[in-house]
Symmetry: C2
Subunit: 302 residues, 2 copies
Amino acid sequence: MRIALIAAATLSLAACASTPTPGDSIAPRTMSDIIAASDASEWRALDLESTLVMTLAGGRTVVIELNPVFAPKTTANILAMARENYFDGLAILRVQDNFVTQWGDPNGETDQPKSLGSASAKIPAEFSRDRAVAPFVRLPDRDGFAPEVGFVGGFPVARNRDAAWLAHCYGMVGAGRNNDPDSGPGSELYVVIGHAPRQLDRNITLVGRVVQGMEHLSSLPRGTGPLGFYEQPAQRTAIESVRIAAALPEGGAAGKLEALRTTSASFIAIVEARRNRRDDWYKTPAGHIDLCNVPLPVRVKS
Amino acid sequence: MRIALIAAATLSLAACASTPTPGDSIAPRTMSDIIAASDASEWRALDLESTLVMTLAGGRTVVIELNPVFAPKTTANILAMARENYFDGLAILRVQDNFVTQWGDPNGETDQPKSLGSASAKIPAEFSRDRAVAPFVRLPDRDGFAPEVGFVGGFPVARNRDAAWLAHCYGMVGAGRNNDPDSGPGSELYVVIGHAPRQLDRNITLVGRVVQGMEHLSSLPRGTGPLGFYEQPAQRTAIESVRIAAALPEGGAAGKLEALRTTSASFIAIVEARRNRRDDWYKTPAGHIDLCNVPLPVRVKS
Protein backbone atom coordinates (compact mmCIF):
# COMPACT_ATOMS: atom_id res chain seq x y z
CA MET A 1 0.00 0.00 0.00
CA ARG A 2 2.85 2.35 0.68
CA ILE A 3 3.79 2.72 -2.94
CA ALA A 4 0.26 3.19 -4.16
CA LEU A 5 -0.48 5.85 -1.64
CA ILE A 6 2.49 8.06 -1.81
CA ALA A 7 1.62 7.91 -5.49
CA ALA A 8 -1.75 9.38 -4.61
CA ALA A 9 0.04 12.55 -3.60
CA THR A 10 1.06 13.18 -7.18
CA LEU A 11 0.84 16.58 -8.82
CA SER A 12 1.30 15.16 -12.24
CA LEU A 13 -1.21 14.52 -14.98
CA ALA A 14 -0.35 10.88 -14.44
CA ALA A 15 -2.86 11.25 -11.63
CA CYS A 16 -5.52 11.17 -14.30
CA ALA A 17 -4.66 7.51 -14.72
CA SER A 18 -4.75 6.75 -11.01
CA THR A 19 -7.67 5.17 -9.26
CA PRO A 20 -9.34 7.48 -6.73
CA THR A 21 -7.89 7.25 -3.24
CA PRO A 22 -10.10 5.18 -0.95
CA GLY A 23 -12.08 7.76 0.97
CA ASP A 24 -15.00 7.91 3.33
CA SER A 25 -18.62 7.58 2.26
CA ILE A 26 -18.48 11.06 0.74
CA ALA A 27 -15.50 10.53 -1.52
CA PRO A 28 -13.31 13.63 -2.03
CA ARG A 29 -13.06 14.94 -5.57
CA THR A 30 -9.65 14.31 -7.02
CA MET A 31 -8.34 15.80 -10.26
CA SER A 32 -9.16 12.56 -12.03
CA ASP A 33 -12.71 12.62 -10.64
CA ILE A 34 -13.17 16.19 -11.86
CA ILE A 35 -11.74 15.48 -15.31
CA ALA A 36 -13.91 12.39 -15.63
CA ALA A 37 -16.99 14.51 -14.85
CA SER A 38 -15.97 17.48 -17.03
CA ASP A 39 -18.08 18.64 -19.97
CA ALA A 40 -16.68 18.37 -23.50
CA SER A 41 -17.23 22.13 -23.89
CA GLU A 42 -14.67 22.75 -21.13
CA TRP A 43 -11.91 21.48 -23.41
CA ARG A 44 -10.31 23.24 -26.37
CA ALA A 45 -8.37 21.93 -29.34
CA LEU A 46 -4.86 23.36 -29.73
CA ASP A 47 -4.37 26.08 -32.36
CA LEU A 48 -2.48 23.97 -34.89
CA GLU A 49 -1.24 27.10 -36.69
CA SER A 50 0.78 28.07 -33.61
CA THR A 51 1.73 24.63 -32.30
CA LEU A 52 5.02 22.89 -33.03
CA VAL A 53 5.66 19.17 -33.28
CA MET A 54 9.32 18.46 -32.58
CA THR A 55 10.70 15.02 -33.36
CA LEU A 56 13.91 14.01 -31.62
CA ALA A 57 16.26 11.20 -32.60
CA GLY A 58 14.52 7.88 -32.15
CA GLY A 59 11.13 9.34 -32.96
CA ARG A 60 10.49 10.90 -29.57
CA THR A 61 7.79 13.53 -30.10
CA VAL A 62 7.39 16.80 -28.20
CA VAL A 63 4.38 19.08 -28.76
CA ILE A 64 4.89 22.77 -27.98
CA GLU A 65 2.01 25.25 -27.89
CA LEU A 66 3.29 28.74 -28.76
CA ASN A 67 1.76 31.92 -27.38
CA PRO A 68 1.11 34.69 -29.94
CA VAL A 69 -0.82 36.69 -27.32
CA PHE A 70 2.26 37.33 -25.18
CA ALA A 71 5.02 36.91 -27.77
CA PRO A 72 3.55 37.72 -31.21
CA LYS A 73 6.78 38.73 -32.93
CA THR A 74 8.97 35.95 -31.54
CA THR A 75 6.28 33.36 -32.19
CA ALA A 76 5.88 34.52 -35.81
CA ASN A 77 9.65 34.31 -36.24
CA ILE A 78 9.79 30.78 -34.83
CA LEU A 79 6.91 29.73 -37.09
CA ALA A 80 8.79 31.13 -40.08
CA MET A 81 11.85 29.07 -39.12
CA ALA A 82 9.74 25.94 -38.66
CA ARG A 83 8.05 26.54 -42.03
CA GLU A 84 11.48 26.58 -43.68
CA ASN A 85 12.73 23.54 -41.72
CA TYR A 86 15.35 25.63 -39.91
CA PHE A 87 15.39 23.39 -36.82
CA ASP A 88 15.83 20.13 -38.73
CA GLY A 89 19.23 18.63 -38.00
CA LEU A 90 19.96 20.94 -35.05
CA ALA A 91 20.47 19.45 -31.59
CA ILE A 92 19.96 19.64 -27.85
CA LEU A 93 23.09 21.42 -26.71
CA ARG A 94 22.63 21.77 -22.99
CA VAL A 95 20.84 20.04 -20.12
CA GLN A 96 21.47 21.65 -16.73
CA ASP A 97 19.95 19.84 -13.77
CA ASN A 98 17.12 21.69 -12.02
CA PHE A 99 17.26 24.49 -14.60
CA VAL A 100 16.85 24.13 -18.38
CA THR A 101 17.21 21.93 -21.45
CA GLN A 102 18.31 24.10 -24.39
CA TRP A 103 18.44 23.41 -28.13
CA GLY A 104 19.64 25.15 -31.26
CA ASP A 105 22.42 25.33 -33.82
CA PRO A 106 25.62 23.54 -32.71
CA ASN A 107 27.46 26.03 -34.92
CA GLY A 108 25.54 29.00 -33.62
CA GLU A 109 28.58 30.37 -31.83
CA THR A 110 30.92 29.87 -34.78
CA ASP A 111 31.44 32.13 -37.78
CA GLN A 112 29.32 29.74 -39.85
CA PRO A 113 25.90 29.52 -38.15
CA LYS A 114 22.96 27.99 -40.02
CA SER A 115 21.04 30.58 -42.07
CA LEU A 116 17.80 31.79 -40.50
CA GLY A 117 16.29 31.99 -44.00
CA SER A 118 13.45 34.49 -44.11
CA ALA A 119 13.37 34.74 -40.29
CA SER A 120 14.87 37.72 -38.51
CA ALA A 121 18.04 37.51 -36.43
CA LYS A 122 16.83 40.39 -34.26
CA ILE A 123 13.37 40.50 -32.67
CA PRO A 124 12.25 43.11 -30.13
CA ALA A 125 12.09 41.78 -26.57
CA GLU A 126 8.63 40.56 -25.55
CA PHE A 127 9.26 40.22 -21.82
CA SER A 128 5.83 41.53 -20.82
CA ARG A 129 2.72 43.19 -22.27
CA ASP A 130 -0.01 45.50 -20.99
CA ARG A 131 -2.06 44.00 -18.17
CA ALA A 132 -5.31 44.26 -20.11
CA VAL A 133 -5.12 40.72 -21.40
CA ALA A 134 -8.35 38.82 -20.97
CA PRO A 135 -9.76 36.66 -19.64
CA PHE A 136 -7.36 36.65 -16.68
CA VAL A 137 -8.38 33.93 -14.24
CA ARG A 138 -6.77 35.10 -11.02
CA LEU A 139 -5.54 32.80 -8.26
CA PRO A 140 -6.43 34.06 -4.77
CA ASP A 141 -3.14 32.58 -3.57
CA ARG A 142 -0.33 34.99 -2.85
CA ASP A 143 2.86 34.97 -4.89
CA GLY A 144 6.30 36.19 -3.91
CA PHE A 145 7.26 37.46 -7.34
CA ALA A 146 4.19 39.43 -8.44
CA PRO A 147 1.11 41.17 -6.99
CA GLU A 148 -1.24 38.96 -9.01
CA VAL A 149 -0.91 35.54 -10.63
CA GLY A 150 -3.32 33.44 -12.60
CA PHE A 151 -3.99 32.06 -16.05
CA VAL A 152 -4.66 33.37 -19.54
CA GLY A 153 -5.60 30.94 -22.27
CA GLY A 154 -4.00 27.96 -20.54
CA PHE A 155 -0.75 29.67 -19.59
CA PRO A 156 0.57 30.76 -16.15
CA VAL A 157 0.64 34.55 -15.99
CA ALA A 158 1.81 37.18 -13.47
CA ARG A 159 0.65 40.81 -13.36
CA ASN A 160 1.39 44.08 -11.65
CA ARG A 161 -0.43 47.41 -11.97
CA ASP A 162 0.88 48.00 -15.47
CA ALA A 163 1.94 44.78 -17.11
CA ALA A 164 1.26 41.07 -17.55
CA TRP A 165 3.85 38.41 -18.37
CA LEU A 166 4.20 34.66 -18.75
CA ALA A 167 5.75 32.89 -15.74
CA HIS A 168 8.74 30.53 -15.83
CA CYS A 169 6.96 27.38 -14.61
CA TYR A 170 8.08 23.81 -15.29
CA GLY A 171 7.60 23.05 -19.00
CA MET A 172 7.55 26.66 -20.16
CA VAL A 173 9.59 27.37 -23.30
CA GLY A 174 11.62 30.52 -23.89
CA ALA A 175 13.92 32.11 -26.46
CA GLY A 176 17.57 32.35 -25.45
CA ARG A 177 19.23 35.74 -25.77
CA ASN A 178 22.54 37.45 -25.04
CA ASN A 179 22.96 40.71 -23.13
CA ASP A 180 20.99 42.63 -25.74
CA PRO A 181 17.27 42.33 -24.82
CA ASP A 182 16.43 42.22 -28.52
CA SER A 183 18.78 39.34 -29.32
CA GLY A 184 16.42 36.40 -28.85
CA PRO A 185 14.89 35.62 -32.26
CA GLY A 186 13.75 32.14 -31.24
CA SER A 187 16.43 30.20 -33.10
CA GLU A 188 17.64 28.87 -29.76
CA LEU A 189 15.02 27.68 -27.30
CA TYR A 190 15.04 26.36 -23.75
CA VAL A 191 12.49 24.60 -21.55
CA VAL A 192 12.32 24.74 -17.75
CA ILE A 193 13.08 21.29 -16.22
CA GLY A 194 13.34 22.14 -12.52
CA HIS A 195 11.95 24.34 -9.78
CA ALA A 196 10.48 27.42 -11.45
CA PRO A 197 13.27 29.98 -12.10
CA ARG A 198 10.86 32.87 -11.69
CA GLN A 199 13.77 35.34 -11.49
CA LEU A 200 13.88 34.95 -15.29
CA ASP A 201 10.37 36.43 -15.58
CA ARG A 202 10.46 39.76 -17.48
CA ASN A 203 14.11 39.16 -18.34
CA ILE A 204 13.71 36.85 -21.31
CA THR A 205 10.93 36.13 -23.78
CA LEU A 206 8.77 33.09 -23.03
CA VAL A 207 7.15 31.78 -26.18
CA GLY A 208 5.10 28.75 -25.18
CA ARG A 209 4.88 25.54 -23.23
CA VAL A 210 5.36 21.83 -23.73
CA VAL A 211 1.96 20.13 -23.74
CA GLN A 212 3.11 16.60 -24.58
CA GLY A 213 6.43 14.75 -24.44
CA MET A 214 7.99 16.82 -21.66
CA GLU A 215 9.67 13.69 -20.31
CA HIS A 216 11.75 13.48 -23.50
CA LEU A 217 13.36 16.82 -22.59
CA SER A 218 13.52 16.47 -18.80
CA SER A 219 15.08 13.00 -18.61
CA LEU A 220 18.01 13.62 -20.95
CA PRO A 221 21.52 13.05 -19.56
CA ARG A 222 22.77 16.21 -17.87
CA GLY A 223 25.68 17.89 -19.64
CA THR A 224 28.97 17.53 -17.81
CA GLY A 225 30.47 20.79 -19.02
CA PRO A 226 30.05 24.12 -17.29
CA LEU A 227 26.37 25.14 -17.11
CA GLY A 228 25.26 21.76 -18.38
CA PHE A 229 26.57 22.00 -21.92
CA TYR A 230 27.54 18.71 -23.52
CA GLU A 231 31.29 18.43 -23.87
CA GLN A 232 31.20 16.06 -26.83
CA PRO A 233 29.04 16.50 -29.96
CA ALA A 234 28.18 12.79 -29.71
CA GLN A 235 26.41 13.47 -26.39
CA ARG A 236 23.89 15.76 -28.06
CA THR A 237 20.41 14.55 -28.97
CA ALA A 238 19.66 15.31 -32.60
CA ILE A 239 16.48 17.14 -33.64
CA GLU A 240 15.08 15.28 -36.63
CA SER A 241 12.44 17.89 -37.42
CA VAL A 242 10.26 20.67 -36.08
CA ARG A 243 7.00 21.19 -37.96
CA ILE A 244 4.01 23.46 -37.58
CA ALA A 245 1.21 21.08 -36.55
CA ALA A 246 -1.13 22.51 -39.19
CA ALA A 247 1.32 21.35 -41.87
CA LEU A 248 1.07 17.73 -40.72
CA PRO A 249 -1.70 15.27 -41.67
CA GLU A 250 -4.47 15.83 -39.10
CA GLY A 251 -2.06 17.98 -37.11
CA GLY A 252 0.23 15.08 -36.25
CA ALA A 253 0.51 14.38 -32.53
CA ALA A 254 -0.93 17.82 -31.75
CA GLY A 255 -4.15 17.14 -33.64
CA LYS A 256 -5.12 14.47 -31.13
CA LEU A 257 -4.81 16.70 -28.08
CA GLU A 258 -7.17 18.97 -26.21
CA ALA A 259 -6.48 21.22 -23.24
CA LEU A 260 -8.78 22.01 -20.34
CA ARG A 261 -9.90 25.65 -20.58
CA THR A 262 -8.49 27.63 -17.66
CA THR A 263 -11.78 29.56 -17.66
CA SER A 264 -13.77 26.38 -17.02
CA ALA A 265 -15.52 25.37 -13.80
CA SER A 266 -13.65 22.08 -13.86
CA PHE A 267 -10.29 23.86 -13.92
CA ILE A 268 -11.27 25.99 -10.93
CA ALA A 269 -12.42 22.84 -9.15
CA ILE A 270 -9.08 21.15 -9.85
CA VAL A 271 -7.16 24.10 -8.44
CA GLU A 272 -9.19 23.93 -5.22
CA ALA A 273 -8.83 20.15 -5.03
CA ARG A 274 -5.06 20.66 -5.21
CA ARG A 275 -5.02 23.60 -2.81
CA ASN A 276 -6.80 21.58 -0.11
CA ARG A 277 -6.32 17.85 -0.58
CA ARG A 278 -9.19 15.99 1.02
CA ASP A 279 -8.27 12.38 0.44
CA ASP A 280 -7.37 10.10 3.37
CA TRP A 281 -3.65 10.35 2.70
CA TYR A 282 -3.36 14.08 3.46
CA LYS A 283 -3.42 15.01 7.15
CA THR A 284 -2.70 18.73 6.76
CA PRO A 285 -4.07 20.30 3.56
CA ALA A 286 -1.78 23.14 2.47
CA GLY A 287 -4.57 25.72 2.08
CA HIS A 288 -2.41 27.30 -0.62
CA ILE A 289 -1.21 26.50 -4.12
CA ASP A 290 1.76 27.90 -6.00
CA LEU A 291 1.14 29.21 -9.52
CA CYS A 292 3.64 26.66 -10.86
CA ASN A 293 2.04 23.74 -8.99
CA VAL A 294 -1.29 24.15 -10.77
CA PRO A 295 -1.71 21.36 -13.33
CA LEU A 296 -2.78 22.40 -16.84
CA PRO A 297 -4.56 19.25 -18.03
CA VAL A 298 -4.07 18.07 -21.59
CA ARG A 299 -5.60 14.83 -22.88
CA VAL A 300 -5.96 12.83 -26.04
CA LYS A 301 -9.34 13.44 -27.62
CA SER A 302 -11.71 10.54 -27.10
CA MET B 1 27.30 34.83 -26.92
CA ARG B 2 23.67 33.85 -26.60
CA ILE B 3 24.40 30.44 -25.16
CA ALA B 4 27.00 31.67 -22.71
CA LEU B 5 24.76 34.37 -21.39
CA ILE B 6 21.52 32.61 -20.93
CA ALA B 7 23.80 30.23 -19.08
CA ALA B 8 24.72 33.08 -16.76
CA ALA B 9 21.14 33.04 -15.51
CA THR B 10 21.65 29.64 -13.94
CA LEU B 11 20.45 28.78 -10.47
CA SER B 12 22.56 25.68 -10.36
CA LEU B 13 25.79 24.99 -8.59
CA ALA B 14 27.23 24.59 -12.06
CA ALA B 15 27.42 28.36 -11.86
CA CYS B 16 30.38 27.84 -9.57
CA ALA B 17 32.23 26.65 -12.65
CA SER B 18 31.21 29.57 -14.83
CA THR B 19 33.30 32.60 -15.51
CA PRO B 20 31.85 35.81 -14.06
CA THR B 21 29.51 37.64 -16.39
CA PRO B 22 31.23 40.58 -18.06
CA GLY B 23 30.07 43.55 -16.02
CA ASP B 24 30.90 47.22 -15.65
CA SER B 25 33.97 48.53 -13.84
CA ILE B 26 32.43 47.56 -10.51
CA ALA B 27 31.73 43.91 -11.20
CA PRO B 28 28.63 42.50 -9.47
CA ARG B 29 29.23 39.65 -7.04
CA THR B 30 28.00 36.38 -8.43
CA MET B 31 27.65 33.14 -6.46
CA SER B 32 30.95 31.98 -7.89
CA ASP B 33 32.65 35.24 -6.85
CA ILE B 34 31.30 34.87 -3.31
CA ILE B 35 32.31 31.23 -3.03
CA ALA B 36 35.78 32.03 -4.36
CA ALA B 37 36.16 34.70 -1.67
CA SER B 38 34.64 32.62 1.16
CA ASP B 39 36.62 31.71 4.26
CA ALA B 40 37.42 28.04 4.95
CA SER B 41 35.64 28.40 8.31
CA GLU B 42 32.37 29.08 6.48
CA TRP B 43 32.32 25.49 5.24
CA ARG B 44 31.50 22.33 7.19
CA ALA B 45 32.32 18.69 6.57
CA LEU B 46 29.31 16.37 6.31
CA ASP B 47 28.51 14.25 9.38
CA LEU B 48 29.65 10.90 7.97
CA GLU B 49 27.71 9.01 10.65
CA SER B 50 24.44 10.31 9.21
CA THR B 51 25.33 10.47 5.52
CA LEU B 52 24.54 7.74 3.00
CA VAL B 53 26.49 6.81 -0.10
CA MET B 54 24.20 5.06 -2.57
CA THR B 55 25.75 3.32 -5.56
CA LEU B 56 23.47 2.65 -8.53
CA ALA B 57 24.06 0.19 -11.37
CA GLY B 58 27.04 1.31 -13.40
CA GLY B 59 28.74 2.85 -10.40
CA ARG B 60 26.72 6.06 -10.34
CA THR B 61 27.14 7.52 -6.86
CA VAL B 62 24.59 9.55 -4.91
CA VAL B 63 25.42 11.16 -1.55
CA ILE B 64 22.49 11.79 0.80
CA GLU B 65 22.83 13.84 3.99
CA LEU B 66 20.25 12.67 6.54
CA ASN B 67 18.71 14.97 9.13
CA PRO B 68 18.57 13.59 12.71
CA VAL B 69 17.48 17.01 14.01
CA PHE B 70 14.12 16.88 12.24
CA ALA B 71 13.69 13.12 11.79
CA PRO B 72 15.68 11.39 14.56
CA LYS B 73 13.71 8.14 14.67
CA THR B 74 13.33 7.66 10.92
CA THR B 75 16.97 8.55 10.34
CA ALA B 76 18.12 6.05 12.99
CA ASN B 77 15.95 3.38 11.34
CA ILE B 78 17.39 4.11 7.89
CA LEU B 79 20.93 3.98 9.30
CA ALA B 80 20.13 0.59 10.86
CA MET B 81 18.96 -0.67 7.47
CA ALA B 82 22.05 0.69 5.73
CA ARG B 83 24.28 -0.88 8.40
CA GLU B 84 22.73 -4.28 7.63
CA ASN B 85 22.89 -3.76 3.85
CA TYR B 86 19.09 -3.74 3.55
CA PHE B 87 19.07 -1.54 0.45
CA ASP B 88 21.61 -3.59 -1.50
CA GLY B 89 19.95 -5.21 -4.48
CA LEU B 90 16.77 -3.13 -4.26
CA ALA B 91 15.82 -0.84 -7.15
CA ILE B 92 14.40 2.42 -8.36
CA LEU B 93 10.74 1.58 -8.84
CA ARG B 94 9.19 4.82 -9.95
CA VAL B 95 10.16 8.04 -11.75
CA GLN B 96 7.27 10.45 -12.22
CA ASP B 97 8.07 13.54 -14.24
CA ASN B 98 8.03 16.81 -12.28
CA PHE B 99 7.39 14.96 -9.03
CA VAL B 100 9.54 12.18 -7.52
CA THR B 101 12.00 9.35 -8.09
CA GLN B 102 11.27 6.55 -5.62
CA TRP B 103 13.24 3.46 -4.61
CA GLY B 104 12.77 0.43 -2.43
CA ASP B 105 11.93 -3.26 -2.41
CA PRO B 106 10.43 -4.50 -5.70
CA ASN B 107 8.66 -7.15 -3.60
CA GLY B 108 7.54 -4.67 -0.98
CA GLU B 109 3.91 -5.01 -2.00
CA THR B 110 3.98 -8.80 -2.17
CA ASP B 111 3.59 -11.24 0.68
CA GLN B 112 7.34 -11.80 0.62
CA PRO B 113 9.00 -8.41 1.21
CA LYS B 114 12.67 -8.23 2.11
CA SER B 115 13.26 -8.45 5.85
CA LEU B 116 13.99 -5.14 7.57
CA GLY B 117 16.38 -6.97 9.89
CA SER B 118 16.78 -5.11 13.17
CA ALA B 119 15.03 -2.03 11.77
CA SER B 120 11.43 -1.27 12.71
CA ALA B 121 8.54 -1.56 10.24
CA LYS B 122 6.62 1.14 12.11
CA ILE B 123 8.16 4.49 13.04
CA PRO B 124 6.19 7.42 14.50
CA ALA B 125 5.55 10.20 12.02
CA GLU B 126 8.13 13.01 12.14
CA PHE B 127 6.27 15.53 9.98
CA SER B 128 7.29 18.51 12.11
CA ARG B 129 8.96 19.41 15.40
CA ASP B 130 8.77 22.28 17.88
CA ARG B 131 9.80 25.64 16.38
CA ALA B 132 12.65 26.09 18.87
CA VAL B 133 15.23 24.65 16.54
CA ALA B 134 18.34 26.80 16.28
CA PRO B 135 19.99 28.50 14.64
CA PHE B 136 17.11 29.37 12.29
CA VAL B 137 18.37 31.68 9.56
CA ARG B 138 15.16 33.32 8.38
CA LEU B 139 14.55 34.55 4.84
CA PRO B 140 12.84 37.97 4.73
CA ASP B 141 11.05 36.78 1.60
CA ARG B 142 7.40 35.85 1.93
CA ASP B 143 6.22 32.29 1.39
CA GLY B 144 2.77 31.08 0.43
CA PHE B 145 2.87 27.89 2.48
CA ALA B 146 4.18 29.08 5.86
CA PRO B 147 4.51 32.25 7.97
CA GLU B 148 8.29 31.90 8.13
CA VAL B 149 10.86 30.12 5.97
CA GLY B 150 14.62 29.84 6.23
CA PHE B 151 17.42 27.41 6.92
CA VAL B 152 18.60 25.19 9.75
CA GLY B 153 21.90 23.39 9.42
CA GLY B 154 21.90 23.52 5.63
CA PHE B 155 18.30 22.44 5.13
CA PRO B 156 15.26 24.43 3.93
CA VAL B 157 12.83 24.87 6.82
CA ALA B 158 9.36 26.37 7.29
CA ARG B 159 7.84 27.47 10.61
CA ASN B 160 4.60 28.67 12.13
CA ARG B 161 3.93 29.82 15.71
CA ASP B 162 4.24 26.31 17.09
CA ALA B 163 6.22 24.09 14.79
CA ALA B 164 9.12 23.83 12.37
CA TRP B 165 9.41 21.38 9.48
CA LEU B 166 11.63 20.54 6.53
CA ALA B 167 10.35 21.80 3.15
CA HIS B 168 9.87 19.71 0.00
CA CYS B 169 12.41 21.46 -2.20
CA TYR B 170 14.15 19.94 -5.22
CA GLY B 171 16.58 17.24 -4.03
CA MET B 172 14.92 16.67 -0.65
CA VAL B 173 14.52 13.01 0.34
CA GLY B 174 11.53 11.60 2.19
CA ALA B 175 10.17 8.32 3.54
CA GLY B 176 7.16 6.90 1.69
CA ARG B 177 4.17 5.95 3.77
CA ASN B 178 0.62 4.64 3.35
CA ASN B 179 -2.50 6.21 4.92
CA ASP B 180 -1.21 5.52 8.42
CA PRO B 181 1.02 8.47 9.42
CA ASP B 182 3.29 6.06 11.31
CA SER B 183 3.83 3.76 8.34
CA GLY B 184 6.96 5.31 6.85
CA PRO B 185 9.94 3.46 8.37
CA GLY B 186 12.36 4.65 5.68
CA SER B 187 12.60 1.38 3.79
CA GLU B 188 11.14 3.16 0.76
CA LEU B 189 12.52 6.58 -0.09
CA TYR B 190 11.75 9.28 -2.66
CA VAL B 191 13.52 12.39 -3.87
CA VAL B 192 11.88 15.50 -5.32
CA ILE B 193 12.82 15.93 -9.01
CA GLY B 194 10.49 18.76 -10.05
CA HIS B 195 8.85 21.96 -8.90
CA ALA B 196 8.69 21.82 -5.09
CA PRO B 197 5.57 19.84 -4.04
CA ARG B 198 5.22 21.89 -0.87
CA GLN B 199 1.72 20.48 -0.29
CA LEU B 200 3.54 17.40 0.99
CA ASP B 201 5.08 19.43 3.83
CA ARG B 202 3.83 18.20 7.23
CA ASN B 203 2.18 15.23 5.51
CA ILE B 204 5.16 12.93 5.14
CA THR B 205 8.52 12.61 6.87
CA LEU B 206 11.44 14.25 5.11
CA VAL B 207 14.71 12.62 6.14
CA GLY B 208 17.47 14.40 4.23
CA ARG B 209 18.70 15.79 0.95
CA VAL B 210 20.87 14.76 -1.97
CA VAL B 211 24.16 16.67 -1.79
CA GLN B 212 25.93 15.00 -4.72
CA GLY B 213 24.81 12.91 -7.71
CA MET B 214 21.29 14.35 -7.95
CA GLU B 215 21.50 14.10 -11.74
CA HIS B 216 21.64 10.30 -11.46
CA LEU B 217 18.16 10.33 -9.92
CA SER B 218 16.59 13.19 -11.90
CA SER B 219 17.60 12.09 -15.40
CA LEU B 220 16.29 8.51 -15.21
CA PRO B 221 13.72 7.43 -17.80
CA ARG B 222 10.22 8.28 -16.59
CA GLY B 223 8.07 5.28 -15.78
CA THR B 224 5.29 4.68 -18.29
CA GLY B 225 2.87 3.08 -15.85
CA PRO B 226 0.34 4.99 -13.79
CA LEU B 227 2.07 7.48 -11.47
CA GLY B 228 5.43 6.87 -13.08
CA PHE B 229 5.97 3.28 -11.96
CA TYR B 230 8.04 1.15 -14.30
CA GLU B 231 5.90 -1.44 -16.01
CA GLN B 232 8.71 -3.92 -16.58
CA PRO B 233 11.24 -5.03 -13.95
CA ALA B 234 13.95 -4.64 -16.61
CA GLN B 235 13.24 -0.89 -16.70
CA ARG B 236 14.25 -0.47 -13.08
CA THR B 237 17.69 0.81 -12.10
CA ALA B 238 19.32 -1.51 -9.61
CA ILE B 239 20.76 -0.24 -6.33
CA GLU B 240 24.13 -1.92 -5.90
CA SER B 241 24.62 -0.69 -2.35
CA VAL B 242 23.78 1.95 0.24
CA ARG B 243 26.45 2.48 2.90
CA ILE B 244 26.85 4.81 5.86
CA ALA B 245 29.69 7.11 4.77
CA ALA B 246 31.54 6.57 8.06
CA ALA B 247 31.80 2.87 7.22
CA LEU B 248 33.66 3.61 3.98
CA PRO B 249 37.40 4.32 3.68
CA GLU B 250 37.76 8.08 4.24
CA GLY B 251 33.99 8.38 4.02
CA GLY B 252 33.90 7.42 0.35
CA ALA B 253 32.49 10.12 -1.92
CA ALA B 254 30.99 11.91 1.11
CA GLY B 255 34.36 12.32 2.80
CA LYS B 256 35.52 14.64 0.04
CA LEU B 257 32.62 17.07 0.34
CA GLU B 258 31.96 20.16 2.38
CA ALA B 259 28.82 22.30 2.57
CA LEU B 260 28.59 26.06 2.96
CA ARG B 261 27.21 26.87 6.43
CA THR B 262 23.78 28.49 6.10
CA THR B 263 24.78 30.66 9.08
CA SER B 264 27.75 32.10 7.19
CA ALA B 265 28.11 35.61 5.79
CA SER B 266 28.91 34.13 2.39
CA PHE B 267 25.63 32.18 2.33
CA ILE B 268 23.66 35.33 3.16
CA ALA B 269 25.55 37.15 0.41
CA ILE B 270 24.70 34.40 -2.10
CA VAL B 271 21.00 34.63 -1.21
CA GLU B 272 21.03 38.39 -1.85
CA ALA B 273 23.02 37.98 -5.07
CA ARG B 274 20.31 35.59 -6.24
CA ARG B 275 17.42 37.72 -4.97
CA ASN B 276 18.64 40.73 -6.94
CA ARG B 277 20.80 39.75 -9.89
CA ARG B 278 23.11 42.59 -10.76
CA ASP B 279 24.98 41.26 -13.77
CA ASP B 280 24.50 42.81 -17.22
CA TRP B 281 22.18 40.05 -18.37
CA TYR B 282 19.38 40.80 -15.91
CA LYS B 283 17.24 43.83 -16.74
CA THR B 284 14.64 43.42 -13.97
CA PRO B 285 16.00 41.87 -10.74
CA ALA B 286 13.24 39.86 -9.04
CA GLY B 287 13.66 41.47 -5.62
CA HIS B 288 12.47 38.17 -4.16
CA ILE B 289 13.72 34.63 -3.81
CA ASP B 290 11.74 31.46 -3.23
CA LEU B 291 12.89 29.17 -0.40
CA CYS B 292 13.39 26.38 -2.91
CA ASN B 293 15.40 28.56 -5.32
CA VAL B 294 18.13 29.22 -2.77
CA PRO B 295 21.23 27.20 -3.67
CA LEU B 296 22.85 25.19 -0.87
CA PRO B 297 26.47 25.04 -2.08
CA VAL B 298 28.44 21.84 -1.69
CA ARG B 299 31.99 21.48 -3.00
CA VAL B 300 34.83 19.03 -3.07
CA LYS B 301 37.40 19.89 -0.40
CA SER B 302 40.50 21.50 -1.84
